[in-house]
Structures are given as C-alpha cells and as structure tokens.
C-alpha cells in the first residue's frame, strides 16, 4: 500500500498562495454568520440613529423671564420672544438669583431680564436695555440664542423708530447645496466615510489576531506563505464586504433620509476603493501589533477619534493649528469625508477630486508596505 510519496521540490507562486489564503478567508466569513450580520447591521443602525437624532439647528430654547417693568412695552418684548420658534418662554421668575437657579438646574438655558426703567426710558426717547443671560455650556445654543436675541432687539428698535414692521435693509442668505439647512444633508455624506471605518478596520485586525490566538499563524509561518500573500489574500475578501456595506449606507442615505447624490455615484465608489484599502491595511498593521482580539479592538477604536475630529468631519480643518492641518492630511478619513461631501452635496467631479484619490492611494500604499514588512518581523 502506498501511504506516502515524498515529492520532488515544487516551486510555489505568489498567485497560488494568495488565492489559497483568499479562499480560506471567504469560507471564514461565510461560516461566521453572526459576525457578518453584526458588521453589516451596526453601521446601518448607527446611521439611522444619528440621522434622526442629530439636529444641529437650535430651536425651542427654554427661557425664563424676569420682568421688573411690567408695562405694555415690556409685555410686547416678551411676546416677540414667545412668537419665535427659537425660544420657549417657560415661566416668569422674580429675581436674577432665580434665573441662575433655573439655569443651574437645567430647567432653562436663557433668562430674559427687563429692567424697571425699560418703558420709562423708551417713552422718553432714551436708549434702553434688556439683558439676556445665556447658559454658555453648549456653545451652539449660546451663539444661536445671542444672535436671535440681538435680532429681536433690532426689530423692536426699528419698529419703535419707524412705527413699521418693514425692515429697511435685510439679508437674505441662500445656503447653496442645502437650501433648507437640513442638518442630515450636512453630516450624512461625511458620516458615510466615518461609519464604515470602525467596521472595516476591525475586519482585518481581527482576521489576523484570531489566527495568532489559535496558533494557526505559527503554523502558517512554517509554510512558504509570505507577508504579501497574507496581506493580499486577507484584504480582497474584506474589501468586497466593506464595499457592499458602503453601498448599503449610501442607499439608506438616499432613500431613507432623502439626501440626493448631486455628482456621480461611480465617482464616489471609485474613490472609496483606495479609502477602503487604507482601512483594511490599517487593520492589518494593528493586527501585527496586537496580541489579543481585545487589544486589536481597542486599537481599532483608538483610530476612530482622530478620524472624527481631525478629518474635518466635525470641525472645519482650516481653523485648526497648522500642525494639526498637516497631521490631518495623513488621516484617510480627511480625504474621504471631503470627497463624499464633494460628490454628494456639490456634484464635484474628477477635476477637483483627483487629489483625494491620489492622497488615499498613497496612504494605502504606505500602509500596505508597512504591514507586509511587519509580518515577517513579528516572528521570533
């Protein structure tokens, strides 16, 4: 009986080895239905939650009133506050101390104080004042309340001067690309880039650390498999998965939140290719540094904060100190957030987006070279 035939030396090829790794990874993904479902499902749930919950426009700011004057004029002023949607006048209070209490307790964010001599000075034709005490703990609420308060004072002044409700000069801002100032339009295009990041990085980060924990990596190192075989064989199947996820999020954006894509969907998807490659390569790099799946997850989350805050997703990049502007150029999300906003909101094309594609491709290339190198050095 022939039980074993030792063979002559056989040359293996890069394509053959990478293909074997790829096929194996596809089986892993198919077998682990639960993990597959969650990686697909969680970003979609996050999108829906954020899309409905987040509204950066401030309305209905809780307001208390301390009216020391109690005249027709002071009541007219209070009515102006009541008729805007920006303020909700809750109740009247009887001292400034009471306003502070209400603000500290979180009951009110704004206190309107009308002084005793408000009507008297007004009727005498002198300049009169009312005061607005604003809770500064939320900056956009504070600035909105101050702004609206100032415009109410302006209208009241003009009305008193001209006895007319017609403003002589008025600004009519038209916000391009988002005329209704709906905040989902502002933040969902950028969110597409941010949401697929966590899921995509963790895919490859876990794919290698799992092998380290199970000991199969040690076995693989004893075979002809090289770093590049592993990197390519592991990136391609997960790239497909990440791509599918991104299309799903874009689909929800268009059909659930009614954010239209002004540019070409194809352009958006093509720019996503180097972006997703960056994220998967970043995951592989993490996997060569982490010893356990837990450590890999923690490192994955460590990459998320910089991509939210440095990418220009939350704060505009050009107001950052110069060092951080440079630093943000190395963050893949920076280029993807601006490309997604460009394509979806402004209908931008390749003439302005080539730089994003180039930057993402460069970062991807660097990350792949680093992780291929680290695969051999982890040994020993």
């Amino acid at each position: 009986m022939i039980v074993h035939t030792p063979r002559q030396h056989r040359k293996t090829s890069f394509a053959g080895r990478a293909w074997a790794v790829l096929v194996k990874e596809v089986i892993h993904v198919r077998r682990d239905r639960g993990a597959l479902f969650f990686t697909m499902f969680i970003p979609a749930v996050q999108l829906v939650m954020l899309g409905y919950a987040v509204d950066t426009n401030v309305r209905h700011v809780a307001t208390v009133v301390f009216d020391q004057c109690r005249t027709q004029e002071s009541r007219a002023l209070i009515r102006r506050f009541e008729t805007t949607t920006d303020f909700d006048v809750l109740r009247e209070v009887h001292s400034e101390a009471e306003i502070e209490e209400a603000v500290v307790a979180g009951e009110a964010r704004v206190g309107l104080v009308i002084p005793e001599d408000y009507s008297r000075r007004l009727l005498r034709g002198e300049s009169t004042q009312f005061r607005l005490l604003v809770d500064g703990s939320e900056s956009n609420v504070a600035s909105q309340a101050t702004q609206v308060g100032a415009s109410i004072a302006l209208r009241e002044s003009l009305a008193r001067l001209g006895n007319a409700e017609v403003l002589p000069v008025e600004v009519r801002p038209r916000v391009l690309f988002n005329p209704d100032l709906k905040s989902p339009r502002f933040f969902i295009p950028g969110l597409v880039a941010i949401l697929i990041q966590a899921m995509t990085v963790s895919l490859t980060a876990l794919a290698v650390v799992r092998e380290l924990e199970k000991g199969t990596l040690e076995q693989l190192y004893m075979t002809p498999v090289r770093g590049l075989d592993l990197v390519v064989g592991k990136i391609i199947p997960y790239a497909g998965l990440a791509f599918f996820e991104m299309m799903f999020i874009v689909f929800l954006m268009v059909f659930l939140f009614g954010v239209p894509i002004h540019g070409s969907l194809l352009t958006l998807l093509l720019i996503a290719v180097p972006y997703i490659t960056c994220l998967l390569a970043l995951g592989l790099w993490i996997s060569t540094r982490a010893k356990t799946q837990l450590a890999a997850m923690q490192m994955t989350f460590g990459t998320i904060i910089p991509s939210i805050f440095l990418s220009g997703y939350v704060f505009p990049r050009n107001t950052m100190p110069l060092v951080f502007q440079w630093l943000s150029c190395c963050v893949p999300a920076t280029w993807m957030v601006s490309a997604a906003r460009g394509v979806i909101l402004r209908g931008a094309g390749w003439d302005s987006l080539w730089i994003n594609a180039l930057a993402l491709s460069l970062i991807a290339a660097v990350l792949i070279v680093i992780s291929v190198g680290r695969f051999r050095r982890t040994v020993g």
Partner: protein
Amino acid sequence: MPHAIEMRDLTIAFGDFVAVDRVGFHVEEGEIFGFLGPNGSGKTTLIKALCGLIRPRSGSATLLGLDVARHVDEVREQVGYMSQRFSLYEDLTAEENLDFYAGIYGLTRDEREERKSELVRMTHLGPYLHRRAGLLSGGWKQRLALGCALIHGPSLLFLDEPTAGIDPVARRDLWDLLFQLSSHGVTLFVTTHYMDEAERCSRVGYIFLSHLLAVGTPDELKRLPEVTPAGRRRIELRGPSPGKVLRRMLEQPWVAEATLHSESVQAVVEEARDAASVQAEVRGWGFAEAEVRDSAPSLEDVFVTLTRRRMAELEDGRNGKPAAAAAGGRP
C-alpha cells in the same frame, strides 16, 4: 547523500538569554529522531531556527542539503511542520483544511486529489472529511494536523510534541503512522516528554538548559560511562513491599542510588557487590521473597543522571570549583 539535518555550533539568543548554546548534531535520512528535554529547554526554539523562522546568532544549519540562512523559501517548500497545538482552522471542515494547505504549497488540482486520497487511506480520516475541524476529538484533530503537514509530500517532517494531551490509543496509532512514514523514507524530527516514545526513536538527542547533553541511539545512551560510572553496577530488585526495601537500602553505605519503579527497586551499587550477594543481604533483612538481578539503565535513568551531573557542574561552576565528575552519585 547529505544528512537530512545538519547543525554546526548553532547558537540562538534573545538579548542576553541564550536559548540554544552551540548545538551541533545531525539527523540521517529516514531516521526517527527523538528530541527530548524539559519545557523551556530550547526544543521549539531549535525547530523554529531550523525552519528559518528565527535567525541564529551564530553557527549554521543545513536541511536536505540546503543552507537554511540562504534558501529559506526552498526549505519551507520541502519540509513539513506540525505544531504543539494542532493548529487547524476550526470553522473549516477537515477537507477544507487539507485543501487550504494544498493551495499554499502550490499543488495542482490533480495532485491535491491524489494526495488527499493517499492521506485519507493512511489516516482513516475518510468519514470525517466534511466535519468541522473544531468538532473533531483530540486524536482525529491530530491526524488531520498530520495530514495538513504532509499534504505536500515533505521528505522531512518536524513534530513538536505531537502526543501531548491525547489518549494512549491515539498515541499508539500516531506512532504506527510515524513508523509507516519512516519506512517510506521520510525523516522525522519529534520532540516528546514520554520516555516510551524516546525508546522507539532510532536516535535521541537530549537538551537541558540550552545545552545538548547527549546524542545517540537509545542503546548507546544507556551504555554511556557517565550513566553507570566505573566501579558501580546497576541492579534491579523485585519482591513484596518494595517501599520498605528501598528505605532500608538507602541506609546502606554501598548503595549509591536507589529509586522505586512500580513493583521494583532500581539501584546503583558498588561493583564489588554482585546481584547474588545483594539478594542474600536483603533476604537477611527479612524480605525472604526478594529477587535481585543485574539490570540495564532505562532512558529515564540516563536523562536523570545526565541532568543531575549537569546541575552539579553548574553548581560547582558558580562556587568557583572546577567542574568535577560527580557522575551517578547521590545528590
């Protein structure tokens, strides 16, 4: 014909820690070479260096005539390795595991199917091919791991503690497989803790605290002069209450060493005392049924003796005394 494995002055160090210190020996083609030593003595490290996974600090290693430092890829394509934990992909079926390694080693579809049927015949994995590897029992996992390590038909196979944690029947079956492989010209390099496995090897190497203490066939090792020093003789005593006999014997000035082996007492005594005289003396103590005869040392005796000797040398080295031959003496 080159040796399957050839090492010269191989030293492996991590920083200040020397894991393998100037080790040199060879393994002949078709041999089952048993590599023994306590945990942490450098066994796995040596295997990793031989496969080119760790770069040695100095010295050289040649596998199948190829210098590992220069031809690491060719070496990897021609040797097989089975790790301590059976490193299988548990969510893949047995067959998918085999297919994966076949792909890694560049087998064509025909070669792969041919190899699989050969390996299935050899390991009897047939009924389990479509079962997930994670659901197989220890013994079957180990056969599958062996199959994966053999898929590319290596002529040299490393097995790192292949029988750790599996039941005695599976252990016996595995050794039967190893003998089959050996009879087909495959060289096997096996690390183990089990003395009975060491006895089955064609040759054995013993490493202790990074130093190779002995290499040879089991019989050669048992005949080493350090194991039964000049002027001493090994005897075996059988009879009832061996524990009591042992206690009495250890009190005698002419007994250098004595240990209990299940039903018998193994002892090293002065050569002047032959088996008959010892038997007479022990019977004189009231153990009328005691029977004494000359005996050969077991491999365990060999390793215990070599280890004690080495530790005594190290102790003397620390105390500034010249390394004395403290062979076979009572500790």
